[in-house]
């Protein structure tokens, strides 16, 4: 089995807010991240897929296909968007705060079953170079 990783980047705005909590609770838990005018990051996404090397092509997965899948399923939806206001999985009422952890989980759900011939192994999202979250599909 080979693991293959493809990177992509997107730049998005977000803020942290849990509608079930009072304003004071939100400010206490989320601090500066609760600013409702939002703030943003250059995110780096690393998607790792696992599979067997095709004896003819020598590929686990066609990288061009994987690049197009990441572009279609993730980058075109997240890049230069406000995650809370423009991306359905983080919209008001979902209860899904767009933290780095939840972004990794949401991207996994977007990609699961969409990569032909390979199994999704890991989704890693860097919010900054010194902070990242990994999701392996564990429930």
């Amino acid at each position: 089995m080979i693991l293959l990783t493809r990177k992509a980047e997107f730049s998005s705005a977000h803020y942290y807010w849990n509608e079930a909590w009072t304003e004071d609770e939100n400010r206490r838990v989320f601090g500066r991240c609760a600013n409702k005018n939002g703030h943003g990051h250059n995110y780096t996404l690393e998607v790792t897929v696992a599979g067997e090397v095709d004896p003819v092509s020598g590929f686990v997965v066609d990288l061009k296909d994987l690049k197009e899948i990441l572009e279609r399923e993730v980058v075109s939806v997240y890049d230069h968007r406000h995650l809370n206001l423009e991306v359905p999985e983080f919209a008001a009422g979902t209860g899904m705060v767009p933290t780095t952890e939840n972004i990794a989980i949401a991207i996994w759900r977007r990609l699961e079953g969409k990569v032909p011939g390979a199994r999704l192994h890991r989704v890693r999202v860097y919010e900054r170079s010194d902070l990242f979250a990994d999701y392996y599909g564990e429930r």
């Binding site: 909590w21 838990v29 990994d134």
Partner: protein, 143 residues
């Protein structure tokens, strides 16, 4: 976690945070003769020591809290790291510290030591520590 905020557990994820610290050390053990120390540790055995800019990457695993969307509170993690990692090791000579009084200050031993330290963090479970000693070598510890 804020008091009075109801929480429930979601899918399991892993959060990694990098900290930087600069320290000096010398690789040397009393178990070897002077010649053996030089033979084993080479330039790292220089009696006056040398130093590195270490990058310490700590990974914590746990269920993502349904309320906060987080594995653990990053502010609490940073405060713990400041108190127990940076204030203890940054700007220090590792060989003079209690952690290395009984063991050589290799980055292997340093990595295991940092893992033991983060086992004391109650916000989430440490599952891996990785330390880059230079851009060309790094060490990992996981149980």
């Amino acid at each position: 976690m804020a008091a009075g905020v109801a929480t429930s557990a979601g899918p399991k994820a892993y959060l990694s945070r990098r900290y930087r610290l600069s320290a000096s050390h010398r690789l040397h053990t009393e178990a070897y003769s002077a010649d053996e120390n030089r033979a084993v540790y080479g330039k790292c055995n220089n009696p006056h020591g040398h130093g590195h800019n270490y990058a310490v990457e700590v990974t914590l695993g746990g269920p993502v809290d349904a309320g906060t969307g987080m594995v653990c509170d990053l502010g609490e993690l940073d405060a713990f790291a400041r108190r127990n990692l940076l204030e203890r090791f940054d700007g220090m000579n590792l060989n003079t510290l209690e952690a290395f009084s009984e063991q050589v200050s290799t980055t292997e031993n340093f990595t295991a030591e940092v893992y033991r330290i983060f086992q004391g963090f109650t916000g989430a479970k440490v599952v891996r520590v990785r330390i880059e000693e230079t851009g060309n070598n790094s060490f990992e510890y996981a149980e």
